[in-house]
């Protein structure tokens, strides 16, 4: 443990840590944002077309059971990217997070009470506008819960990518193990935890900003 101040005292190490941290943020959050968009589109398809729902729910269960390391290694073979390309990790995590989010999004859309959608239609909303203005906002609390799980899961899974050579805080673990040096491992764990907590906090603040009506519940 006494090694940590010494480890951190080096300016070059600190610069490298910052770079790894930013890589980690990039590798975990890009898939999160992309999968939110994908999950909304797919969730809408599930909600509107029953057969799509059955297929996508089974498919997302299957995707989630593929081990991450295997998926990181398989993607280059399937789409022809280089083995070390970070895009492999981004695609793999996008698949996982989308698989995680599709079902709750579809369920949240289905849970919007029919008298509310009927009244929106009767007010003269066109279908797309109704979706964006009424159904989607009402699905946000459920979507947000899924996104929080997805963000934590992504932040932890990005570390696994270090095993196939992509960047991020995971390289601190692989380097530390190789050099039998504990300091980078501990710093890596702490930074991963702090990152997960900070991202979660941001997500909670964002959710609260988007859903003031949820906390208005009850009589004033």
């Amino acid at each position: 443990m006494g090694d940590i101040p010494k480890y951190l005292s080096d300016a070059g190490t600190r610069a490298a840590l910052l770079e790894k941290l930013l890589d980690h943020v990039y590798l975990s959050l890009v898939p999160l944002v992309v999968s939110i968009v994908l999950a909304i589109v797919l969730g809408l398809l599930c909600h509107r077309f029953r057969p799509v729902n059955a297929v996508l729910v089974s498919l997302s269960n299957v995707v989630y059971t593929i081990p991450s390391l295997a998926l990181f290694a398989l993607i280059p073979a399937m789409i022809g990217t280089r083995v070390l390309d970070p895009v492999n990790v981004i695609i793999a995590l996008t698949l996982y997070t989308t698989a995680l989010l599709v079902r709750p999004v579809a369920e949240a859309l289905a849970a919007v009470p029919s008298h509310i959608t009927a009244s929106a239609t009767a007010m003269g909303f066109r279908p797309w506008r109704r979706f964006l203005a009424v159904e989607l906002p009402l699905a946000v609390p459920v979507l947000a819960a899924g996104v929080r799980v997805g963000s934590v899961s992504n932040i932890s899974l990005v570390s696994v990518g270090a095993l196939i050579g992509t960047g991020g805080l995971g390289t601190l673990f692989t380097d530390g193990f190789q050099q039998r040096y504990l300091a980078p491992i501990i710093v890596g764990i702490v930074l991963t935890l702090v990152l997960a907590l900070v991202v979660d906090l941001v997500l909670v603040l964002l959710r609260n900003r988007l859903t003031p009506w949820v906390r208005a519940g009850g009589k004033p």
């Binding site: 009767a122 208005a216 009850g218």
Partner: protein
């Protein structure tokens, strides 16, 4: 004016919800569609704003076939109030009311200004505008639903069992409110309910529908009660229709008599008569029995109001004397049930 011309609606599962409906809803009236579940009343209503399209026949709004109008455009010109109000939980009350003006392209500022006017019109305090629907009572939510339907000032208002989810006392208040609004706004209102009492209370004309989508009778409420078209209508309007019909007979022929009174708080002397307690403004406060005990009063009726109220006042009074009051609630006199019945009898001829 809304016109149904030989309108039939068959659903994919083979059920016929509406069967050859021919009916004209006059402009500026409240017309009620009433009937048991499965009679096609809601389906008929929803064919007006194309939430449902007919299998055959034509629905005309102001002489125009609704099938020729793009549904969202059509709907923005027709107010709609649904059971449980159907307010958007994620929008403030003010923004809920501003919905249709915003859809039709008003600026947010102007739409909210209009919404605030409507909250006032339906009798809600302005500060409720900032709240979310979940923070309102059921009755308040229904008022917001009505305000929202009226926001773009549509000539036609469709109301689908709007008051059935609130308790009877609140419901009666909402019905009175609707009648008051209608006197002011003069909309063409189609109101769907399964409650015949509600239909009779608010409808200028009532369409009684029968399971299978048939129109059983279309008439003013008093006529439904006096001359039901068939056994179905007779049983649907209920056993005590003879009594309820009295709601449509005015009590002006009933002469009120004087009654001994006691000022509220004054000492009670023994007497063989029932005496009415009145406050300083001569408002009835209850009775004093011959044995000098105080007894709460029965119902009151306003002179000239329906004779049903006069009869009920007499029947519910502990003294057997129904108390009549003037428009300010001051004692006008008393009547007996016998007197009221005599007037009813004399009107039969």
């Amino acid at each position: 004016m809304i016109e149904f011309r030989d309108v039939t609606k068959r659903f994919d599962d083979g059920t016929t919800a509406v069967n050859g409906l021919d009916l004209v809803v006059e402009a500026g009236t409240i017309t009620v569609f009433v009937g048991p579940s499965g009679c096609g009343k809601t389906t008929s209503l929803r064919m007006v704003n194309r939430m449902i399209d007919p299998t055959s026949g034509t629905v005309l709004v102001d002489g125009r076939d609704v099938l020729g109008v793009d549904p969202p455009t059509l709907r923005r010109g027709i107010g709609y109030v649904i059971q449980q109000a159907g307010l958007f939980p994620h929008r403030t009350v003010l923004d809920n009311v501003a919905t249709v003006p915003l859809l039709t392209g008003w600026t947010r500022r102007k739409a909210r200004q209009r919404a605030a006017e409507l909250l006032e019109l339906v009798g809600l305090p302005a500060e409720l505008g900032r709240r979310y629907p979940v923070q309102l009572s059921g009755g308040q939510q229904q008022r917001v639903g009505v305000a929202r339907a009226l926001a773009a000032d549509p000539p036609v208002l469709l109301m689908d069992e709007p008051f059935s989810a609130v308790d009877p006392v609140v419901r009666e208040g909402l019905q009175d409110e609707l009648l008051r609004l209608q006197a002011e706004l003069d909309k063409t209102i189609v109101f769907v309910t399964h409650d015949i009492d509600e239909a009779i209370r608010i409808g200028e004309k009532v369409a009684v529908m029968r399971t299978g989508g048939f129109l059983a009778q279309y008439a003013p409420p008093a006529e439904l009660l006096t001359r039901p078209a068939d056994d179905f209508v007779a049983s649907f309007v209920g056993k005590d229709r003879g009594y309820r019909r009295l709601s449509f007979v005015d009590s002006s022929g009933v002469e009120v008599a004087e009654v001994p009174t006691i000022a509220e708080g004054a000492p009670v002397e023994s007497s063989s008569d029932w005496r009415l307690v009145v406050d300083a403004d001569k408002r009835p406060q209850g009775w004093v029995a011959p044995d000098s005990s105080s007894v709460p009063g029965g119902s009151l009726y306003e002179v000239g109001a329906s004779i049903r109220g006069a009869l009920d006042a007499a029947l519910s009074s502990p003294s057997g004397l129904g108390v009549a009051v003037d428009a300010e609630g001051r004692l006008a006199g008393v009547v007996t049930a016998r007197q009221v019945l005599d007037v009813i009898e004399s009107r039969r001829g």
